[in-house]
Subunit: 198 residues, 2 copies
DNA sequence: TAAAAAATATACTAATTAGTGTAGTTAGAT
DNA sequence: ATCTAACTACACTAATTAGTATATTTTTTA
């Protein structure tokens, strides 16, 4: 078994346990046990539990975001269609067997100190996803794509929270319905006009 | 000092520490120390750490939700105005000194087991808030007030997450802008029509 | 004012935790 | 083939944790 495979096995075991139990609630021994790898080897690859968490989050970010983008793009080539497809992929995520909310949001909740390195990784991941949504909105030629994409992100994050609260994936469709209205609004006119009319 | 005052002091100390450090990260000794009350007395009022967490969350829910509703209603009597004022109050919350995300979302993140009693309390609180938003939408005489209020909740929850991620309260205004579009859409026509036009 | 309840001070247990130490084994690279 | 780095097995430390025990003092209440 190669060296990097042990590392990945540890990260994989850690991610599964973090998703199921949270970060503080998972002991290092539980991770090494689950991976079938001794704790000594774990500490050979990661100098501390925190470093393992950081590595796991970075690994997850890359895999998850790439899967996400690939899934979106496999649904349609149409830019607006892709913006909406985002919500279908999100719904599939909510329905996936081991869904337990966003790992990054959970990590930020458990490590609330502003300077915590874990928060930096979470922020970076969220910014990359935000950037992807924005690029879709730009390609769709929508007015104020920056603002629109920020609003769509709010719907996605809100749905992620509420999917946990309600233990239901229905809010993904609700978010999509709201997204349609927001996108339509960005298709027809600069949003300032819409604001003034109210 | 009355008995119930000790209880409330313990709950207050617990809430402050939970907000600043999370739930697992806060030891029972830290709570009793902060409250200036012995651990023995703490265990006289709460039979376990979990019971203290439950009591603290229930207490917080009542106080927070009442403050929230009062604040909204002090802004305007106009029903649509109140729906929008929600986002101003949310923004004030984001700007408050000790803001560190939603205590309930944090609790659900740290206690992911579906059957955890802590999750029940969090769900109940969220449902009560949801009900309040829905009642505002109904009073405003908007079409499909149920759907609309669910969508507004997504914006609020999303903004709460992103306020933490971005360490900025700006997303409250972004959520409000989106809410205006959604509300306008509900003022003018049943949302089905809007959906079909896309 | 006297009994009962609540609170303090402090020390304790038993379990769990992150991380290390030692000594021996396996496996890949040259 | 052999050398090196990774890995195992397992015992260990020192700190921290939730919760309890004992004995005393304060406060409430009847």
């Amino acid at each position: 078994m190669t060296q990097s495979s042990k590392r990945e096995q540890l990260i994989q075991a850690a991610l599964e346990l973090f998703a199921r139990k949270g970060y503080h609630a998972v002991a290092v021994d539980a991770i090494s046990d689950r991976a079938g790898i001794t704790k000594k080897t774990l500490y050979h690859h990661f100098k501390s539990k925190e470093e393992l968490i950081l590595a796991a989050l970075r690994h997850y970010d890359e895999r998850f975001r790439n899967d996400f983008m690939r899934s979106v793009e496999s649904k349609t080539g149409d830019p607006i269609g892709r913006l909406l497809a985002v919500f279908d992929i999100v719904e599939e995520w909510f329905n996936s067997k081991n869904f337990s909310g966003c790992l990054f949001v959970g990590a930020m909740g458990e490590y609330p100190e502003e300077a915590a390195p874990i928060r930096r990784v979470c922020r970076e991941s969220k910014m990359l996803t935000q950037g992807y949504i924005k690029s879709l909105a730009e390609k769709a030629g929508l007015y104020e794509s920056g603002q629109l994409s920020e609003q769509l992100i709010l719907l996605i994050e809100g749905a992620t929270t509420m999917a946990q609260v309600n233990n239901s994936s229905l809010c993904a469709a609700q978010a999509k319905a709201a997204a349609k209205v927001l996108i339509k609004n960005s298709t027809t006119l600069p949003s300032k006009v819409a604001k003034r009319k109210l």
